[in-house]
């Protein structure tokens, strides 16, 4: 297995966000190469690469790009930097530590798809990241990398703007993102039509995650086959896995996308804090079904995790040691989904509130075995019955936590209290040294 780093290679360099740093490392070379290529050849390389969306759904990027209707203009690109799924913290480092890689990816995508206006929708809480990205875009504009010509050579108008959100998880959902970008509240749209056909301001729009787009320069430079060679099955390339919770060395690790989950936790992230035993892992952001300790010896490749009954989703791995209370964790997650439901569909609006209420009761020692059964029923009644995937996202943790840790839920009902008490979030609750690829953050 190779140790190719596509996304985090420059993060430890001094002044890593500067255009000069990027250029000194061959940055914008892919764009230069692309100017000599037919735009459709770029799309072909991306198709060959088996690049799959890093925002959560793992949809094939090249295929998505072909959904654009042939003859409708203008088309738009929106890059999803909402990064709000609990446990997910990777896109921010691309933006903070190597924004030009993202900008080059945007330029390449726009050139490939005949798009002249792109927005990066960044969550409102990322103030620093928004400043860095805006400065980098301005630097690229001043240097003539983008503007009315690409790299000062090829006539091609390209405007890139940063649009800051204002605190709403639902705006990470692609159609809610578009509503928000149009200056409205973030209500997801009914699909179809999909954004690639009817998107921003009613025009065909490609929406991709930050990490997805940041891979495009490497693919153009090295070819789709080389990218595919770093993965397995129908998934190419490396991924940024974020490991948080009860590990010794939390942080972001760039690994081939079929990397072993157990190895990631036990070796790269330094194993479980205090030498305690592992209890559970959420493998791909809070919405992905939880895995019990004995289920984690799997490849993180999208289809492999699916076969194991979960999702590699956003690559956000949350680790619980034996001292953590699963009821408490699920109660907190359910509160999140109840809070963030936009309220448009009844099963999601009502169901997320019910689940939160039942879990709150159980955690406080006021619940019964019937409540545990009811919890499962409510979750089942949401799944598949809503406009957007937030409904499913709220149901999956509940279904999987209850299924895999039922004795713990029943114990809360029987004992009429949380058996863990104050240590419900684990015996060791303290910040630890962390990493972002090669960068170290001392506590």
């Amino acid at each position: 297995m190779s140790d190719t780093l596509i996304l985090s290679a420059r993060w430890a360099k001094p002044n890593s966000a500067a255009l000069s740093t990027y250029r000194a490392d061959g940055g914008y070379g892919a764009l230069d190469k692309a100017l000599g290529m037919d735009p459709s050849a770029i799309v072909d390389e991306v198709k060959k690469s088996n690049l799959r969306g890093r925002g959560g759904a793992g949809f094939a990027t090249g295929l998505k790009w072909t959904f654009l209707p042939k003859d409708v203009r203008p088309r738009y690109l929106t890059v999803n930097a909402d990064e709000s799924e609990p446990g997910t913290f990777k896109d921010r480092y691309i933006i903070e530590l190597d924004p030009h890689q993202l900008i080059e990816g945007i330029a390449l995508t726009c050139y490939a798809l005949d798009i002249h206006l792109a927005y990066v929708y960044i969550r409102g809480e990322f103030a620093k990241q928004a400043r860095i990205l805006e400065a980098a875009i301005e630097e690229a504009r001043q240097a003539g990398v983008i503007g009315t010509k690409l790299l000062g050579k090829k006539d091609f108008d390209l405007d890139i703007h940063v649009h800051r959100g204002a605190g709403a998880y639902i705006c990470g959902e692609e159609s809610a993102l578009l509503e928000s970008l149009e200056g409205k509240k973030g209500y997801p749209r009914l699909k179809p039509p999909f954004p690639a056909v009817v998107g921003l301001w009613g025009k065909p729009t490609i929406i991709n995650n930050v990490e997805t787009i940041a891979n495009v320069p490497w693919i153009v430079q090295h070819g789709g086959d080389a990218f595919m060679a770093l993965g397995a099955g129908k998934s190419g390339g490396t991924r940024l896995f974020g490991v948080s919770g009860h590990v010794n060395r939390p942080g972001v690790y760039e690994k081939n996308c079929d990397y072993n989950l157990k190895k990631l936790i036990m070796e790269d992230a330094g194993g479980i804090v205090g030498g305690r035993k592992l209890k559970a892992v959420i493998p791909g952001g809070s919405s992905s079904p939880v895995l019990a300790a004995h289920e984690i010896d799997i490849s993180m490749e999208f289809d492999a995790v699916k076969a194991a009954g979960s999702m590699s989703g956003s690559g956000g791995v949350i680790v619980f040691d034996e001292s953590a209370c699963m009821v408490r964790a699920l109660a907190r997650l359910s509160r999140f989904y109840a809070e963030e439901s936009c309220g448009q569909c009844t099963p999601c609006r009502e169901g997320t509130n019910w689940m939160e209420g039942i879990l709150h009761k159980l955690e406080g020692g006021h619940g019964s075995a019937e409540d545990v059964a009811k919890l499962e029923q409510v979750a089942n009644s949401i799944a598949g019955n809503t406009i957007c995937a937030l409904g499913d996202a709220a149901a999956m943790p509940v279904q999987s936590f209850v299924k895999k840790f039922k004795p713990e839920f029943l114990a809360h009902a029987e004992l009429r209290r949380c058996p863990c008490g104050d240590t419900g979030w684990g015996i060791t609750q303290a910040p630890r040294d962390a990493v972002a690829g090669p960068v170290r953050y001392a506590r």
């Binding site: 409102g124 409205k184 509240k185 609750q429 962390a434």
Partner: protein, 169 residues
């Protein structure tokens, strides 16, 4: 529908002028016929200049963006970072979602409440702080995390929290 009594005329004139000056470059990011897209940035600008997004500020944003006051209100009340009511001088927003709590976020929540003499989320008696629990801030590796006046602080401990709050004006 909110009563917009007072209206834009009730806002200090020099601040309205500043609003217009700072809105101009923001509007350049959107096609001229899509000004309404600037609603979030316009409201955030209003919040920064006027303290919170009162009905008059909503009206101002709606007018400048050529859209209805109800659209401005709908947006102002949907997003958690948009404040439609006055807050304390400093906004302290601690993440207590799972990854943070596994590293002490929940304990810090108790610590902060005690420190600011608050029984639950809210504004301190001297109006100096508004304390809130927020959802995942995308800093789960460097947890626990909080925002103070919209800037992120990570790998928090009680001592660090003391230093951060102590350093505020």
């Amino acid at each position: 529908m909110t009563n917009h009594a007072g209206g834009v005329e009730g806002l200090p004139r020099e601040k309205v002028e500043q609003f217009d000056r700072e809105l101009a470059p923001i509007l350049k990011r959107y096609p001229p016929d899509r000004k309404a897209s600037a609603m979030i940035p316009a409201l955030r600008l209003g919040q920064a200049l006027f303290g919170h997004i009162s009905p008059a500020v909503q009206l101002l944003a709606a007018e400048r963006l050529g859209t209805s006051p109800s659209r401005a209100e709908e947006v102002a009340t949907f997003y958690v970072m948009l404040e439609t009511h006055p807050t304390g001088k400093h906004l302290v927003e601690l993440c207590t979602n799972v990854s943070c709590s596994l590293m002490g976020g929940d304990q810090l929540w108790s610590y902060l409440k005690q420190k600011l003499a608050l029984a639950k989320a809210g504004t301190s008696a001297d109006d100096r702080y508004t304390l809130r629990e927020v959802e995942c801030l995308g800093s789960c590796g460097t947890a626990p995390a909080m925002l103070v006046d919209e800037e992120m602080y990570e790998q928090l401990t009680p001592q660090k929290v003391d230093a951060i709050l102590g350093g505020l004006k």
